[in-house]
Every structure is written in C-alpha cells, then in structure tokens.
Symmetry: C2
Subunit: 161 residues, 2 copies
C-alpha cells in the first residue's frame, strides 16, 4: 500500500485527484497506476484501470489470477467492474469513498453471487495517509476555487470529515 500511496502522490503532483494503485503477483509489483483523468482527457483513466491494463500486458493474459490489487481509495463502479472482469481474487484498499464506492459504500460488488467472480477484500490499510492526501488535495482545490476537480478520479465528492 505504501507503493500505491507513492503512485497517488504522483497524481497529486500533476494536479489530479491523488489515487494510486499497484498490482502484485507472486510477491512482486507487476504494474502501477495513478489517476490521470484530467491529464489524459480520459474518463476511464483511473489508477485501477491503468494498473489492470498494464498487469494484463505484463502477464499476457486478461485473467489476472493470483494477483492482489492495492488501491488508496475504494474503487468506483467502473473499477470494481474491471476488477471483476479481470478475475482479480484479492483487493486491498485504504479509504472508503462514501459517495461513489462500490465495495461497501454505495454498492458491494465483491460478493454478489449472481456474478461469476467473488473478491476477497481488505479495507482500511493506510487509511490515515490516503485520507490525509485526499483531504489536503480537496482543501487546496477549494482554496483555489477549482471546484470542478473535486471528484475522486471522476467519481463523487470525497468527504473531508
């Protein structure tokens, strides 16, 4: 998760909502990603999607069996959908996203028995650091009145309290 936080900081330096992700396979990081929605003008360029695409290229397989995805913020619907599509068996995330999260907050897509894949989830790891990074980012955004950027990667407004 420390490495995912490092990715989140790269996003922050670009003025992007600071969310970062890494994919681990057999104890090694095989892919990294950070939110680039604004800089790439791409609504799908969330940290998780970028990391998943890289991991698939690395493993030459769209099935990311045996991997763990670490991400600093609870995934949105799109990213949880991508995690399901990629058959990622384990997800570890830091902070909950009460307005857009799809792994416990608005929805819990990790354990829907109607879907063809279930995900083992661990949350709250490095929550303090990830939350602080997001809060500080949004305080800065509000101060500069660029309210438009106040959506995690493209999701809903992230709580500062």
């Amino acid at each position: 998760m420390k490495e995912a936080l490092r990715e989140a900081m790269k996003a922050e330096r670009l003025g992007e909502v600071p969310v970062g992700a890494v994919v681990v396979h057999e104890g090694r990081i095989i892919a990294r990603g950070y939110n680039k929605r604004e800089s790439m003008n791409d609504p799908t360029a969330h940290a998780e999607i970028i990391a998943i695409k890289k991991a698939s290229r690395r493993l030459k397989n769209w099935r990311l069996s045996g991997t763990t995805l670490y991400v600093t913020l609870e995934p949105c619907l799109m990213c949880m959908g991508a995690i399901l599509q990629a058959r990622i068996p384990r997800l570890v995330f830091a902070s909950f996203d009460p307005k857009a999260g799809a792994c416990g907050s608005l929805y819990d897509l990790s354990q829907d028995r109607r879907l063809n894949h279930r995900i083992e989830v661990c949350s709250g790891i490095c929550d303090d650091e990830a939350g602080r990074l997001l809060r500080e980012f949004f305080v800065k955004v509000r101060t500069t009145k660029e309210g438009e950027a106040s959506c995690p990667q493209g999701g809903a407004f992230w709580q500062t309290s």
Copy 2:
C-alpha cells in the same frame, strides 16, 4: 445501431464475442469500438470502453456531454460505470444481458439518485439482429467446444433462449 452491429461483426470475424458500439455527437459518429478482450489480452477492452476512450480523444474532453452511446448488448458493470464517469447522457442498446447486464438486468445503474449522473436509456433497438449474432456465435463456440470464450466480452454467459 446498424453501425454498432457492423462493429460487432468485426469482433465476430476475430473470434471475439460479437459486441459493437458507436458514440454519436451532433448527429455524427465520432468513435467506434468492438470487443477485443481476447485479441488484446485486456479485460477492459469491451466495445463501449474502446469507443468511449476514442470519443474522449476526439472531443479532447473526458466529459462526453451531448453524446449518445449505441451498443449491441446491455453494458456490464464496468461499462455502465464508464458511461457514468464519462457523463454520457443517452444510451441505446439492443439485447439485454440477463447474466451480467447493469442497465436493468442485474442492476440498473442508469437511475441511481445517489450517483452524480443519470442516463436516459432506450433498449431493444435491433434486438433481433444483435441477439442472432450472439446466439450464432455461441452455437459455434459450443460446437467447437471452446467453452471458455462463452462470456460476452468477459461478462457472464449469454442466454441462447
């Protein structure tokens, strides 16, 4: 939708589950996509995601305001999430996907008031043609016993009845 079906046929010729999509803006097709999950080894390479990424590049904006997405199969969770992220206001799809659809079948993400975007949806357009294309594909897959490919784009098994 005829153009989306044309895209779906390109996928079929590659041995991919035949799903196609187009994005229309001001009466013109600005992006096209077809399912390339297997050929690109990319779990996110669904027709909709490919078309959305292209449309964003074309409009130089991650917000696809004023666009309509046409797709031959009800979008899965990942793709509905991407449609929400891109703020696409209108979605037209052909066939329902009873095992993985997130626009009426398993979920309906188009009208969730907790999310920051709602989508106007029209379904059933060219359902016969899109359904026939999918059925014929899966009959072929079963005949050749490549059961592994029998998931629309990476979603759940598509009904033949």
